[in-house]
């Protein structure tokens, strides 16, 4: 999509009613499936969550003290000498989600594994994300997933089918908007700028940008739209005229005729 057609999209988007994004909610509102978490399951979840938080906090405090003591004694201290209790908590959340499998009671346990367990077991977290999208997309109890959606492809790879299920079925406007953002920003980054898939995804992002009232989502959307406008696959990148680390001027276009790997890097 060139700048001219991008501008046309903006005009078109401004003419689309803001309620368009909420269209799928009409369908999910008619979903008669029960979405109530039992009191027993809720109590179990809250107790496990408190146990996890207390346990991780105690572990962190103790590890810091051990590391400090080792430093003071001039000894080395590796993280593996005092392993995290996270795997144990993950097993408990997993056991609960298995016990409640297929019911709304499983949702908070699965969502916790996705949002807090991914750093320990990415495959399990991905499987739980897929289960939530395939079995529980109409649940009103999935808003915690929003925290992983900005980086969901970095974590789990291509999960656009799951994101589409959330976009189509979730009763939560917030979740539908973030799932749309995650899915379609991935598409505009991966598909050629002159493809139908790119055009359709860009159109949805522009519509979302016009409609959303989410002030955390809006800057992210605008950044993705800027990238899609100038750096989509197949677009000619702007030249860079700058100086190297010795202060000598050079340009990106000096490398015309070559494949160029531009690495934005630092010594962190």
């Amino acid at each position: 999509m060139n700048r001219r057609s991008f501008a046309a999209w903006l005009v078109l988007a401004s003419a689309i009613p803001a309620g368009l994004i909420a269209t799928s909610a009409t369908a999910t509102a008619q979903d008669d499936a029960p979405h109530t978490i039992s009191k027993a399951a809720q109590t179990r979840y809250e107790a496990l969550l408190a146990e996890y938080r207390d346990g991780m906090s105690a572990w962190s405090t103790e590890m810091s003290a051990k590391a400090k003591a080792a430093r003071n004694a001039g000894e080395e201290f590796g993280d593996d000498e005092f392993p995290s209790p996270l795997p144990g908590y993950l097993a408990k959340f997993k056991a609960a989600s298995d016990e409640y499998a297929g019911t709304e009671n499983a949702v908070p346990f699965l969502a916790w594994i996705v949002t807090s367990g991914a750093r320990e077991d990415i495959e399990l977290a991905r499987a739980c994300f897929t289960t939530l999208a395939s079995t529980h997309a109409a649940s009103p109890n999935l808003d915690d997933l929003v925290s992983v959606l900005p980086n969901v492809h970095g974590m789990f790879g291509d999960v656009n089918a799951s994101l589409t299920a959330l976009v189509d079925k979730s009763p939560s406007k917030k979740l539908r908007e973030w799932a749309t953002f995650a899915r379609d920003s991935h598409v505009v980054a991966a598909e050629p700028h002159d493809s139908k898939a790119y055009d359709e995804a860009l159109g949805r992002l522009i519509t979302l940008n016009e409609a959303t009232e989410d002030q955390r989502l809006k800057p992210r959307l605008e950044s993705k739209l800027l990238i899609a406008e100038s750096f989509a696959i197949g677009m000619v990148a702007p030249d860079i005229e700058g100086i190297d680390l010795d202060g000598t001027a050079f340009k990106l276009s000096d490398y015309a005729g070559k494949v160029v790997f531009v690495d934005f890097w630092g010594d962190w």
Partner: protein, 88 residues
């Protein structure tokens, strides 16, 4: 990729002495732009870089072929482009 139509160009966000130290320490051999030079917009702003490191792979006509944070995926794209140039 030596002797191939390929170049690696950096855009570095560090102070110059920090960058030079990293280059010496890690035996890096590619040329880098200074990202921020007084009086000019940062290159990373012009290129809407959302996170570091970011990699952009350009073909011989400076068209974007990859943009993201996955060094392995970027390398695969670059290798494929170089191979395509060799067979053209």
């Amino acid at each position: 990729m030596k002797d191939k139509p390929f170049s690696l160009v950096g855009v570095n966000s560090d102070k110059v002495d920090v960058a030079k130290d990293a280059i010496a320490r890690n035996n890096l051999n590619w040329r880098s732009f200074q990202n921020s030079v007084e009086g000019r917009p940062a290159i990373s702003d012009d290129w809407t870089v959302e996170g570091w490191p970011t990699i952009v792979v350009l073909d011989a006509e400076r068209r974007v072929r990859y943009r993201g944070h996955d060094g392995y995926a970027a390398t695969d794209v670059a290798k494929r482009l170089v191979e395509e140039m060799a067979t053209d």
